[in-house]
Amino acid sequence: MVDKQHLLTTEQMASFVADGYLRFDDFIPDEYNKAAHEEMASGVSTRGGGGTVLNDVWGENSAVGNVFRLPKVQGIIQSLVGENPLYDHHAVHIVRPNSETGQIWHADAIIDLRMHFDIQFFYFSHDTPREMGGTMILPGSHFRRVCETDIARYQNFLSQHAVVCNAGTLLVVHHGMWHCAQPNLTDQTRYMFKLRLNPTVRQLKLWNTDDLNTAGIRGILSRNHRWYGNDVRLEIVNRIKLWRFLIGDESYDVGYWLSRLENMPENVPNVAA
């Protein structure tokens, strides 16, 4: 169990539910980034495939393994998918120099429709200015039920977010997040390490819940993303459902949303004389 100081806060968890991601800038120390970068360039090997316990995947000398063993990274993992998640897969995403076309928008596998969710880390081991990419994400897209590249016709959205960052930046996203690699117009190869993890425990209050009842949660869960258009209310309902699941309170609401549906007048007999 990681020290409590490394766990996510309730506000961070609410942001993850509303936006589908959390971003940690300048998070991984330089020496780890340099070693991981070298390992990515030469090949990252694993012990076991999908379904292996994460802690068994990388040996002590693995630079990438060392990144994900850092207590503050373990705190993120534990907060979202528990102490002993399963390794699903990883990929070293490479964008060659002078690549002028962006990757098509896509979501990764969304074949599991349960409320439980996987997480994916996007780890940037080197500086990534806009002319180098990096990965573009669409905040708030994680509840959308689409099949991988079915969204490839889209190109731009209001509120799309290109991850332009310094070395050592880490994103963690819900597995439903829409994303695409961006063009790399530099003469340097761009790397991004992706890691998908599956929970093995009920995702119930796994984070630091000391601030569980903080007043700001309702506002976070009510955030709009400008590309939603008329669908923002539907997305708020999706968030309420996931938040109820995460905190184990089936009566939670951010206002009078699901509560309205749970008012069941048809079950009350007419007692008027």
Binding site: R145, Y154, C180, Q182, N230
Partner: protein, 91 residues
């Protein structure tokens, strides 16, 4: 003889109203002069379909509207109000 090629502009709107604002957009160029790609602009080329029409774009597809299937009322998926417009350009 003038040869024409199709330019396509795909606009996704806030509501089905053609005056409502654009929330997503894409362009495809049949002349071969330009290759549009993901994330290539931060602002839409027009604020609405009507604004694009006023600049000579012809609407060639309206989004159809269907009631949600029972049980699917709160599921979100693709962008619903997608208008496809064209312009013909000489090559």
């Amino acid at each position: 003889m003038v040869e024409l090629r199709q330019q396509l502009l795909v606009l996704h709107l806030h509501t089905p109203d053609l005056n409502s604002h654009v929330v997503a957009w894409a362009m495809y160029d049949g002349t071969g002069k330009k290759r549009y790609t993901t994330g290539d602009s931060d602002a839409p080329p027009y604020n609405s379909v009507v604004e694009a029409m006023q600049d000579g774009w012809r609407v060639i597809q309206f989004p159809q509207q269907f009631p949600a299937f029972p049980g699917m009322e709160y599921h979100t998926s693709y962008l619903r109000f997608e208008y496809i417009l064209e312009k013909m350009e000489e090559i």
